[in-house]
C-alpha cells in the first residue's frame, strides 16, 4: 500500500514536471517559428548583402553568381516543412526567381493566375533580351522594366512595342514578332481551373527552418552574414561581458536595497522619512543616458575630476579588470537600488498591515523582531520572484550604457545585428533570450514554491482546495 502511494506520487510529479517541461519546449519552438518568419519577412535581399555583389548589375555572370550565393546560404530551399499556396502557384515558387524579383513575379501571377503562361512569358522576355543587339536593347529595356501589371503590359504591347518594331532590322523584327505573339498568349490566357483552391505542399526536412534550428542546437549556430564568425562565439564574448556588468549590478542592487527598505520600514514617519522616499523617487527618475553622459564628462573629462586613469572606461572590453565596470555600475545601480528598495518597502508595508502582523505587534512583538522573523520572509517571495524575472532582461544588456562606455556586450551586439541585418546572430540572440526568460520563470516558480508551499503547482485539479 505504502509503496503504491510512493509510486503514485513519483508518477504524479513526473507527469507534472514533464508537462511543465513540455510547455517550456513548446513555447521555445513557437518563439523559434515566430522569430524565423518575422525575420524572413523583413525587406532586403540577404543574398546581395552577403555576396558583396552590390545592386543587381548587368555583368554577364551576375545571375549565375547570384544563384551560387543563394545555394551557399541555403536560401534556395523552402522556408518550412510545408507550405500552403493557391493552386495557380507552383510548389517550387521559392526557387523560380531571384529573391529581389519574386515580389514582382508574384503580383503578376496573382493577376494571370496561370503559372505555365507566365513562365512562358518570362522566358520569352529573357529570349528577347538575349537576342537583341545592345543598341536595340537600350531602347526597349526602359519600358520593358516598367511593366509591373497586366494593364501595363497591354499598354506596352499596343504602344511602345509597335513603335520599337517599326525601327528595327529584319533579323530583330522576327524576334520582336515572336515576343509579340508571346505577349498575346499571356494576355489571352485564362486562369487555371480552381486557381484559388489552397494546396498543401510537403517539403520535408530539407528546408531553411530545419537547417537553421539544426545549426543552432548542434553546430556553431551558423555563421554571421557580416563577418563570417561563428554565431555562438560572437555571442559568447558579449554574454560574459554583460553578465559581469549587468548581473553583478542587479545582484548588488538587490542586496543593497534590502537594508534600505528595512531602514525605511523601521524609521518613524517624519520629514526625514518623506525626504528619503522623495530622494529615492528622484533617483529612480534620472534618465540613464543623461547620468552616463554627465559621468563621462565630469569624471573622465580633463576639465573636472580627470579620473580617466582610475576608471579606464574605454579599456574594459575583454580585459580581466573590473575597474572598467565601476563607472557603468555607478550609473546603473542608483536607479535599480531606488526602485528595488521602494518596491520592497511597499511589500513590507502591505505585510505589516495584514491582521496577523497587527495582532502580533499588538501582543507585544517589536516591529524590528516582526520584520526579521515574519515580514521580510513573506515579502521576500514577490521580491525574489521579481529578481528572477529581471535576470534575463539584465543579460539582454543595456544598450545605452554599452554604447556610451564602449562595452561590447549583448545590448550592443543585438543592436548591431539589427542594424547590419545579421539575421543568423539575431535569431540566436532571440532564442537565447527566450530560453533565459523561460528559465527565469521556471527558477522563479521553484524558488517561490520552496519559500511558500501554498504557491506550489497544484498536484491535481480534482483534489479540491480548502476554503
Amino acid at each position: 500500500m505504502n509503496s503504491n502511494t510512493n509510486q503514485n506520487s513519483i508518477w504524479r510529479s513526473f507527469v507534472r514536471y514533464g508537462r511543465y517541461l513540455a510547455q517550456f519546449v513548446f513555447s521555445l519552438f513557437l518563439l523559434a517559428i515566430l522569430s524565423f518568419f518575422l525575420l524572413n519577412q523583413m525587406p532586403g535581399d540577404p543574398v546581395l548583402q552577403w555576396s558583396g555583389l552590390g545592386e543587381p548589375n548587368q555583368t554577364k555572370q551576375f545571375d549565375r553568381r547570384y544563384s551560387d550565393a543563394t545555394k551557399t546560404l541555403h536560401l534556395n530551399l523552402p522556408e518550412f516543412y510545408f507550405s500552403i499556396h493557391a493552386k495557380c502557384f507552383p510548389d517550387t515558387f521559392y526557387k523560380t526567381n531571384e529573391l529581389y524579383q519574386q515580389d514582382q513575379v508574384r503580383s503578376l501571377l496573382w493577376e494571370v493566375k496561370n503559372w505555365p503562361a507566365l513562365t512562358a512569358f518570362l522566358n520569352a522576355e529573357k529570349k528577347l533580351r538575349n537576342g537583341l543587339s545592345e543598341e536595340s536593347l537600350t531602347q526597349i529595356s526602359k519600358p520593358l522594366s516598367n511593366i509591373k501589371s497586366i494593364a501595363e503590359l497591354r499598354k506596352f504591347q499596343t504602344g511602345q512595342l509597335r513603335e520599337f518594331q517599326s525601327g528595327v532590322g529584319a533579323r530583330e523584327d522576327t524576334i520582336v514578332k515572336t515576343f509579340d505573339a508571346d505577349i498575346r498568349s499571356i494576355l489571352n490566357s485564362s486562369p487555371v481551373a480552381g486557381w484559388w483552391i489552397p494546396v498543401l505542399c510537403w517539403h520535408g526536412q530539407s528546408n531553411q527552418f530545419h537547417n537553421w534550428g539544426k545549426e543552432l542546437l548542434t553546430g556553431n549556430g551558423g555563421v554571421s552574414w557580416v563577418d563570417g564568425r561563428a554565431v555562438w562565439s560572437k555571442i559568447d564574448n558579449a554574454f560574459w561581458i554583460t553578465l559581469r556588468l549587468s548581473l553583478t549590478a542587479l545582484l548588488l542592487s538587490f542586496l543593497i536595497a534590502i537594508p534600505i527598505a528595512l531602514f525605511l520600514s523601521l524609521q518613524k514617519r517624519n520629514w526625514l522619512h518623506r525626504l528619503i522616499l522623495l530622494s529615492l523617487d528622484f533617483v529612480f527618475t534620472i534618465p540613464l543616458f543623461w547620468l552616463a553622459s554627465l559621468t563621462i564628462v565630469f569624471v573622465l573629462g580633463p576639465v573636472y575630476f580627470n579620473l580617466a586613469d582610475y576608471f579606464p572606461s574605454f579599456e574594459m572590453a575583454g580585459s580581466a579588470s573590473w575597474t572598467g565596470l565601476i563607472l557603468p555600475w555607478i550609473c546603473i545601480m542608483p536607479g535599480l537600488i531606488a526602485y528595488l528598495s521602494r518596491f520592497l518597502f511597499k511589500l513590507l508595508e502591505e505585510e505589516i498591515h495584514k491582521p496577523y502582523a497587527q495582532q502580533a505587534i499588538a501582543k507585544g512583538l517589536s516591529r524590528r523582531k516582526w520584520l526579521s522573523r515574519h515580514g521580510l520572509r513573506n515579502a521576500a517571495i514577490p521580491y525574489i520572484y521579481t529578481l528572477t524575472m529581471a535576470i534575463p532582461a539584465a543579460i539582454a544588456g543595456s544598450l545605452v550604457l554599452e554604447i556610451l562606455f564602449s562595452i561590447p556586450g549583448m545590448g550592443r551586439l543585438t543592436f548591431m545585428s539589427v542594424i547590419s541585418r545579421d539575421w543568423p546572430v539575431l535569431f540566436a540572440l532571440v532564442m537565447l533570450n527566450g530560453l533565459l526568460t523561460l528559465t527565469g520563470y521556471l527558477v522563479g516558480n521553484i524558488v517561490v514554491s520552496y519559500l511558500d508551499p501554498r504557491l506550489r503547482i497544484p498536484e491535481s485539479t480534482n483534489q479540491g482546495q480548502g476554503l
Partner: protein
C-alpha cells in the same frame, strides 16, 4: 528553511561596497595611457573583418590599405594613380593578332625588393592566386567578381615571375584602375597545400568546369574556410608596412609597423607616399558615442577623432585650451548629396516642374543648418575636387519667384484653390503632389522637411516618407518613388557614369534611378568610356554634366567636409580620400 537575517546594518553593506570600489580602483592605477609611440585613432564602428576581398565596412578598408598593397593605387594627397607594388605604371598594348585580338594587355613588373614576411618574393603568381581565390564559388567576393568580368586572362612570365600581363577584354576608361586594383594575397600562407595551383583562372570562369570542381570537397572546403577568414591576425598578412597585431572585438585593433619591411629598402628616388610609414604602432579604439570620443580626445586617450559634429568642431577651435592641444582641419570626402527625380512620373516629366523644384531648394540654408557650414555646393554628379568638374555651370539659386515663373511657363496653376498647382493632361487633372523618399537617418529627414516647406510656397506638395534602409533600397530598385534623397561616394580618378546615367541602366539591373538618358547623352557616355585622350575625356565629362544640368535630372546639393581633430603631438594633414587623413604619413613632433 533558513531565515533571512534581519539585522544587517545598511551602512555596513554600503561601507563594504565603498571599500570594494576603492580597492578595485587602486588595483589599476596604471591604466594604459596613450603611449608616446602609438597613434591612437578613434573609430566609431568596428570593421566587419580585415580582408579586403570580403570586407564591406569603410573602416575596414581604411585599415586594410595599410596591410595589403596593390599594384597601383591613388596617392592619398595628389589623388593621382601611382605605382605601389608595381615598379612603374604599366605599359599598355592593343593586341591585334591571335586569340586575344581586340583585347588590351597591361604589362606590370613587381618591384624587385617586394618580399613577403617570410622572405619569399612577391610574384605574379600571388596576384594570379588572389584573383583565382576571388573567383571561388564559395567566396563572397562580389565586387572583385564584378571587376574580374573584364579580365579574361592573366599571364605570369615564367622566366621572370615578377613580370605579368593582365588582359582586359574591352577598352575602358577605368581599365588601368581595374588592372592594378587587386590587393595581393600571399599564396604560400593561404594555400600551402596548393589546392588552387592545379586549377586555371579560366576553369573558374567556366560554369561547366566549376560544376565539376564543386564535387571536390577539399576545393569547396578551402573556399568556405577563406570565406570565414579576416578576424585572426595570423592569417591576415599582406605586403604593406603594417601588420595586424591584435584585435579585441568590440574594443580595439592594434597595427604594428613591420621592422624589416621591404619598402624601406627601395631607393629614395623610387619612393612615393606609400613608402613612408612613420607611426610604429597604430591603435584604432572603438568609441561609438561622440561625447565619449571627445572626452577621450581631451583626456588624451586618443590622438585623432573624425566625424565631429559641426558645433563641437567649432568649440574645439575656439576654446583656448583646445586650440593649444589640437590641430583642427577639414577634408573633402568624395561624397555628395542630391535629390533624385523620377523623370517618368506625371508632373515630373515636365522640365518646368523639375526646374521649379530646383529653385525652391534652399541649398545654402541647408549647408548652414544641417552641416554647420562645412559643406560645398555642387552642380552635377561629379565631385568638385576632380579636374573635370564643370566649373562653368552656376549653382541654381534659391528663388521662389523664378520657381513660380517656371510653373506658370509650364501651364501649372492652382485652379481649384487647394494650394496645389495642377494642370489638365490628356483630359485628366494632374496635381503637383509628390512623395519624397528618405531613409530614417536624421540628416535626410531634416533636409526633406526644409524642402517640403519651401515647395509648399510655390504650390507643390511634398509628402515625406522616411523608411528603413533596406525598404528604401527595395523601393529604389522598383523605382517606386517620385523624389528621393540620395548620397553618392566616388573614387578618385575617373568615374564611370554608365551605371547611374546611361539609359541602359534604367531597368532593375542598373542604378539610373532618375530615368535620365537619350541617344545623345548615351553617346557621350559611350565615347567617354572608350576615350583615351585626357583633353577629350575632360571635354566629354563637361558635356555630360551640362546635359544633366540642363535636363535637371536631379537637384544637386552639396559635398560635406569631414571634420577632424588631431592632437598637436602629431603632425599630419587631411586627405581627400576617406576617412579624410592618411595615418601612415603622420609624424611625431
Amino acid at each position: 528553511m533558513r531565515s533571512i537575517p534581519g539585522h544587517i546594518s545598511p551602512w555596513l553593506v554600503l561601507a563594504v561596497f565603498a571599500i570594494g570600489l576603492c580597492f578595485a580602483s587602486s588595483c589599476k592605477k596604471s591604466a594604459e595611457k596613450a603611449s608616446d609611440t602609438t597613434l591612437n585613432i578613434r573609430i566609431a564602428a568596428e570593421p566587419d573583418r580585415i580582408n579586403p576581398m570580403l570586407s564591406k565596412s569603410p573602416v575596414a578598408s581604411q585599415i586594410e590599405q595599410l596591410i595589403y598593397y596593390k599594384l597601383l593605387d591613388f596617392d592619398r594627397v595628389t589623388l593621382e594613380l601611382i605605382p605601389m607594388l608595381a615598379k612603374r605604371m604599366p605599359t599598355v598594348t592593343l593586341i591585334d593578332t591571335g586569340i586575344y585580338r581586340g583585347f588590351t594587355a597591361y604589362d606590370f613588373e613587381i618591384r624587385v625588393e617586394a618580399n613577403w614576411d617570410n622572405g619569399s618574393p612577391i610574384t605574379g603568381n600571388d596576384l594570379l592566386f588572389s584573383i583565382k581565390l576571388a573567383m571561388h564559388p564559395e567566396v563572397p567576393a562580389g565586387s572583385w567578381k564584378n571587376f574580374l568580368e573584364y579580365i579574361p586572362q592573366v599571364e605570369v612570365d615564367q622566366n621572370n615571375q615578377k613580370k605579368l600581363r593582365i588582359y582586359l577584354n574591352k577598352s575602358y576608361l577605368l581599365a588601368d584602375v581595374i588592372a592594378g586594383n587587386f590587393e595581393i594575397y600571399p599564396e604560400y600562407l593561404l594555400d600551402p597545400k596548393g589546392i588552387l595551383k592545379g586549377i586555371s583562372y579560366q576553369d573558374l570562369n567556366d560554369a561547366a568546369k566549376l560544376k565539376k570542381l564543386s564535387a571536390d570537397s577539399s576545393f569547396i572546403q578551402f573556399g568556405q574556410e577563406f570565406a570565414k577568414s579576416g578576424t585572426e591576425a595570423s592569417t591576415m598578412l599582406g605586403s604593406g608596412p603594417y601588420k595586424l597585431d591584435n584585435w579585441t572585438p568590440g574594443k580595439e585593433l592594434i597595427l604594428s609597423r613591420k621592422s624589416d619591411w621591404w619598402g624601406d629598402k627601395i631607393s629614395e628616388k623610387e619612393k612615393n607616399s606609400f613608402f613612408t610609414a612613420n607611426p610604429s604602432r597604430i591603435k584604432y579604439v572603438l568609441i561609438a558615442d561622440e561625447l565619449a570620443a571627445l572626452t577621450a580626445l581631451r583626456n588624451k586617450q586618443i590622438d585623432l577623432c573624425n566625424d565631429i559634429e559641426a558645433k563641437e568642431f567649432q568649440a574645439l577651435q575656439t576654446s583656448a585650451e583646445d586650440k593649444n592641444t589640437f590641430n583642427c582641419f577639414t577634408a573633402k570626402l568624395m561624397q555628395f548629396f542630391f535629390v533624385g527625380i523620377h523623370m517618368q512620373k506625371p508632373g515630373l516629366n515636365d522640365l518646368h516642374v523639375r526646374k521649379a523644384l530646383a529653385y525652391a531648394m534652399p541649398v545654402d540654408k541647408i549647408i548652414q543648418q544641417l552641416f554647420g557650414g562645412y559643406a560645398e555646393r555642387i552642380v552635377g554628379p561629379i565631385h568638385p575636387s576632380k579636374h573635370y568638374y564643370n566649373k562653368a555651370l552656376k549653382p541654381i539659386p534659391f528663388d521662389l519667384g523664378l520657381a513660380k515663373k517656371e510653373l506658370n511657363d509650364g501651364g501649372w496653376a492652382d485652379t481649384d484653390g487647394n494650394g496645389i498647382a495642377d494642370k489638365q493632361i490628356d483630359g485628366k487633372k494632374v496635381e503637383l503632389s509628390f512623395n519624397l523618399l528618405t531613409t530614417n537617418k536624421k540628416l535626410g529627414q531634416e533636409l526633406a522637411l526644409i524642402f517640403k516647406q519651401e515647395a509648399k510656397n510655390i504650390g507643390i506638395e511634398i509628402n515625406i516618407e522616411a523608411i528603413e534602409a533596406q525598404s528604401f533600397q527595395k523601393r529604389l530598385r522598383a523605382r517606386d518613388f517620385d523624389l528621393v534623397n540620395f548620397a553618392i561616394k566616388q573614387y578618385p580618378g575617373y568615374v564611370d557614369l554608365e551605371p547611374s546615367w546611361h539609359s541602359k541602366s534604367i531597368g532593375e539591373k542598373g542604378n539610373n534611378i532618375s530615368g535620365f538618358g537619350d541617344a545623345s547623352s548615351d553617346a557621350i557616355i559611350d565615347s567617354l568610356n572608350l576615350a583615351t585622350d585626357t583633353k577629350e575625356i575632360y571635354r566629354l565629362y563637361r558635356e555630360i554634366q551640362e546635359k544633366i544640368y540642363a535636363d535637371q535630372a536631379a537637384i544637386f546639393l552639396c559635398s560635406p567636409l569631414e571634420r577632424i581633430a588631431l592632437n598637436k603631438k602629431w603632425r599630419g594633414e587631411g586627405s581627400d580620400r576617406a576617412p579624410g587623413y592618411f595615418e601612415q604619413l603622420f609624424t611625431e613632433r
